[in-house]
Amino acid sequence: MRAARWRLASRCVAAALGGYALASTLPVALVALVAPATLARADAALVALQLSFVVYTGAVVWAFAARSAALAWAALVLATLLSGGIARVVL
């Protein structure tokens, strides 16, 4: 019983914090990759901001739908690192 509670709590933290991290990086990476070079940076940031809540929602659903809490964490951390890396390189 104890272990199940910890796993559930773990998913909650993954959703809240991991989701926020992914929502702060993946939109930036997407916009940086897809947007034309002529797009003003204020506009690029606006697009990324408006996308972020879709990403956050998706991350939260993933955190609870993934087969295990560990998998939830792993995917979120990996995706965040990847997005952060891409954003760092492209911008």
């Binding site: 204020a42 408006q50 972020s52």
Partner: protein, 498 residues
């Protein structure tokens, strides 16, 4: 998923219900404003701008000549039905409703009006601005998750679309919850997502940081690029006469054609570098954006202009904000907005009740359940009582009372607090019925209160086509009838179950 949906609903349902109710009433804020200022005459709009501008400028010249900033709002539609002026300066700030014919101020009581009710929706109350922004933002995101998880849980959404099985306890509440949610689902998704866009700068500061650098300076640089000032100027320190505002109108018409001027903003009105901003109608279409023209305050020469459309990303934000506010909506769409807002409140309320009914039915008996049952009464039925108390306070508080507008809002929260105490002291079932009766009485008596405390009773309002006043009174009667109906249904249920 169901666990997540239920827990999020339990934790934030009360706050979200508050936001839906104040949001829906806030949508009708100009009508509520009018009822809460019965001294105002019936609104007449649109009015020709030249005489209005002349009167407004003369008034500000006389009463606010040392102010650093003037603003004039012209009566063009039901969102802004009166000629209003406002001013800000070292000597203080103020606002006044003007009679466009005589140019005199129309004395109105000190009240927050419908605007304050509207602001409760996102500013809450008694909290610093930053805190309420975060709380409201977080609640909105939780609502988005609740909507999505609710969709995921509701597997047979199309098959069950019209299912409603009354009189079956938990099943019926679930059906009502599903019905309210599914029928208004597109609206709920739009209103929630667009609500998040309102606060996105605060909630997601790391995103602009990728382009502008971390920290406050990066955030400031970003905001300065998103909202750059138009023709900015530092005060010169030399006095100069302000150009007559109506002289700008021919140039404005040359630029905008028939599109109306909604407001005029004047910076440093008696300075050699005074600036006049002529602003178009933000509510002309779904995009919450307007054309703006900047003029030199002394010479009247046009300095700069900004069209409503600047870029697609900005326009997307403007569209989402405009859809959320719904100010552009013609009458039928407006009614749908109100209905959808009420369905949203019903969605949340039925969810909150469902949580307790389900657990009662399966035999839970812990203190937490009793607590939630009573909190539900106070939140769901107590809030309408509290809002009615706000309107009663508007008419009953002495006109000369210090900080009168603040006290009207205190009355709202004091009444709500009383409802919590009531719910704590009475069995939940009785409290539901009693508070529903109280809400019914307070709402249905509002037209009577209006007749007794103002010259603009329902009969006169209808005769003068004072639609805002009449609409409020009629809506209050309808709300009273609704709560009375609820009270009767609750009495019948109690009689059956003993």
């Amino acid at each position: 998923m169901a666990w997540l949906h239920a827990w999020l609903g339990l934790l934030l349902g009360g706050l979200l219900y508050f936001m839906f109710v104040t949001g829906t009433l806030g949508y009708l804020d100009s009508a509520i404003d009018r009822w809460m200022r019965p001294e105002l005459p019936a609104a007449r709009y649109p009015l020709p701008p030249e005489p209005a501008l002349r009167q407004a400028q003369a008034f500000l010249q006389t009463h606010a000549h040392e102010a650093r900033r003037w603003s004039i709002t012209l009566p063009i539609d039901r969102n802004e039905p009166y000629l209003r002026v406002a001013w800000q300066g070292e000597a203080g700030s103020g606002a006044a409703y003007l009679d466009p014919g005589s140019g005199h101020q129309i004395a109105t009581r000190a009240t927050g009006g419908g605007q304050t009710l509207y602001q409760l929706h996102w500013r809450l109350h008694y909290l610093p601005a930053r805190a309420s922004e975060w709380i409201v933002g977080l609640a909105s995101f939780v609502l988005l998750i609740a909507l999505v998880t609710g969709l995921i849980v509701h597997r047979r959404i199309f098959a069950d679309f019209f299912t409603f099985r009354p009189g079956k306890g938990q099943r019926s509440w679930l059906d009502a919850h599903n019905l309210a949610s599914v029928v208004s689902l597109p609206f709920q998704l739009m209103i929630t997502y667009s609500g998040l866009v309102f606060v996105m700068f605060t909630l997601m500061p790391l995103i602009p940081a990728a382009w502008y650098g971390a920290g406050n300076s990066g955030q400031q640089a970003f905001l300065n690029e998103v909202f750059p000032p138009l023709a900015p100027a530092q005060a010169a320190g030399r006095r100069a006469a302000l150009a007559p505002l109506e002289q700008l109108l021919p140039d404005v018409r040359a630029q905008w054609g028939a599109a109306p001027v909604a407001s005029i903003d004047i910076q440093d009105p008696h300075d050699a570098r005074a600036r006049i901003l002529v602003v178009g109608d933000f509510a002309a279409g779904p995009l919450r954006a307007a054309n703006i023209l900047a003029y030199d305050g002394v010479s009247g020469a046009r300095l700069a202009q900004r069209p409503a459309w600047q870029s697609a990303p900005r326009a997307l934000r403007d569209l989402l904000l405009g859809l959320h506010e719904g100010l552009f909506a013609p009458p039928v769409l407006r009614a749908l907005y109100v209905l959808s807002g009420l369905l949203g409140a019903a969605m949340i309320a039925t969810g909150m009740v469902l949580w307790t009914v389900k657990r009662r039915q399966r035999g839970d008996r812990h203190a937490g359940l009793a607590l939630v049952e009573r909190l539900n009464v106070a939140v769901i039925m107590g809030l309408p009582v509290a809002i009615a108390a706000y309107f009663w306070a508007n008419r009953l508080l002495p006109l000369g009372l210090e900080r009168r507008a603040d006290w009207e809002v205190h009355a709202l929260f004091l009444a709500w607090l009383l409802m919590f105490a009531w719910a704590a002291l009475r069995p939940a079932r009785r409290a539901w019925r009693e508070q529903a009766l109280l809400a019914a009485a307070l709402c249905a008596a509002l037209p009577l209160l209006n007749a007794l405390t103002s010259a603009q009773h329902l009969g006169r309002a209808l005769a003068q086509q004072d639609l805002a006043m009449a609409g409020f009174d009629l809506a209050a009667l309808a709300a009273g009838a609704l709560f009375a109906g609820m009270a009767r249904a609750l009495a019948r249920r109690q009689a059956l179950s003993g």
